[in-house]
Amino acid sequence: MPALDDGTPLFVQIADQLADDIVGGGLAEGARVPSTNELAAFYRINPATAAKGINLLVDDGVLEKRRGIGMFVAAGAQEQLRAGRRKRFAEQYVDPMLAEANRLGIDTDTLVSLIRGPGWHNGGSRP
């Protein structure tokens, strides 16, 4: 079972995991998403919690219900989620990186060259 970390409410984590799958292309637009009971069994959570997670994405227009068949990824869902995540990218990834670079005395030029440079992932490895 994939571990859920308990930082945010469980139903939000369920919504995030589904959103991840849609952004990553694992769940294509028009694809059927797992049912509430399937999610509950997979993550070992209460079905009501899984339903709350799904409803979060329905409210955002990312998923749509087709009566009697199930939940499906809505048209345009991937781009909608990507746009939302781009907005939060600076806050979630760049700001913490800048804060750590600042603590380590890495100036902006060095940081930029680290990002531009080939093999940056080797040079920046940590134990």
Partner: protein
């Protein structure tokens, strides 16, 4: 909709000892409720009154809107699996057969499936079963009864982690496929936390917490990092616990943090860790004890 269980100012006294002290609560149909608390908190007494095994000293208790005691039609709609349940010394298959006569929604297919899942030998006599196997017999009956109200009181004495996980998985599948009302009393809070929709905590016979599980999670955080930064961050908040080691500090606050506050914590290079349900309840119990002392 009529609540499955409703208690109003329910009290139970044994001579000079108070087991339940004006307990009021409702359990809605189709939910999984965790009934939590320390030994002697009143969990078993409450379940015994719900299942008509005991009478309240004062107050009112209703199951499906009726008083359960000596009310056979109501009692047949519920199943109660007790800790260290005693069975007549029959063979396992006969205990299962006797149980099947009592519960109108009994599923024989499910019972047989569970017997094989838990590797229970049908021909063996109850007395020759291990403690864990006897617990598994209770779990088989509790699930196969498919009763509208299913109560488990510490159902897993002697069951190992693998068998407990099997129990949780089967409970979840059964609940998903055939929704019913489940009340589960346990000490292994973190094991069942994600299965619960609602949490009721008793302490010294009183309800100290009665809330949706989603509301309880994330209501307290441990903030750790450089002591000066930690103190700056927690200033003005309700502090439950404080620990220091050299220049580092770790402080538990009774707050949930919005994304802006979380970003602020990250900027201060602080790590945030939410309290698990079990840790939260330990705190809740500690605080109600404090109140009692100061009252």
């Amino acid at each position: 909709m009529i609540p499955t269980i409703s208690a109003t100012a329910l009290s139970r006294r044994y001579r000079d000892q108070i087991a339940l002290d004006e307990v009021s609560l409702t359990v809605e149909p189709g939910t999984v409720t965790g009934l939590l608390g320390r030994n002697g908190a009143g969990k078993t007494t409450l379940m015994r009154i719900i299942t008509g095994l005991e009478f309240p000293t004062a107050g009112d208790l209703r199951v499906f809107g009726e008083v359960p005691a000596e009310n056979d039609p109501v009692l047949r709609r519920m199943v109660f699996v007790r800790e260290e349940q005693a069975y007549p010394d029959l063979r396992v298959e006969h205990v299962i057969q006797v149980a099947s006569w009592f519960y109108p929604n009994w599923s024989e297919d499910l019972a047989q499936q569970l017997l094989s899942d838990f590797a229970l030998p049908p021909k063996r006599r109850i007395k020759r079963l291990s403690r864990g196997m006897r617990s598994a017999v209770g779990i088989v009956i509790g699930l196969a009864a498919r009763a509208e109200l299913t109560l488990f009181d510490e159902p897993y004495a002697g069951l190992d982690a693998v068998a407990r996980q099997l129990f949780y998985d089967r409970l979840l599948t059964e609940f998903a496929e055939r929704p019913r009302t489940i009340v589960l009393s346990t000490h292994l809070i973190d094991e069942v936390a994600d299965l619960l929709e609602h949490v009721v905590m008793l302490d010294h016979g009183r309800v100290v917490l009665d809330a949706p599980a989603d509301d309880v999670r994330g209501t307290a955080m441990t903030v750790s990092g450089a002591a000066t930064a930690v103190e700056e961050f927690v200033a003005g908040r309700t502090v439950w616990h404080r620990q220091r080691l050299g220049s580092r500090a770790s402080v538990t606050i009774a707050d949930s943090l919005d994304p802006a506050e979380q970003a602020k914590a990250r900027a201060l290079n602080l790590s945030l860790e939410p309290l698990s349900l079990q840790q939260l309840l330990v705190h809740a119990a500690g605080h109600s004890a404090d109140e009692k002392v100061s009252a």
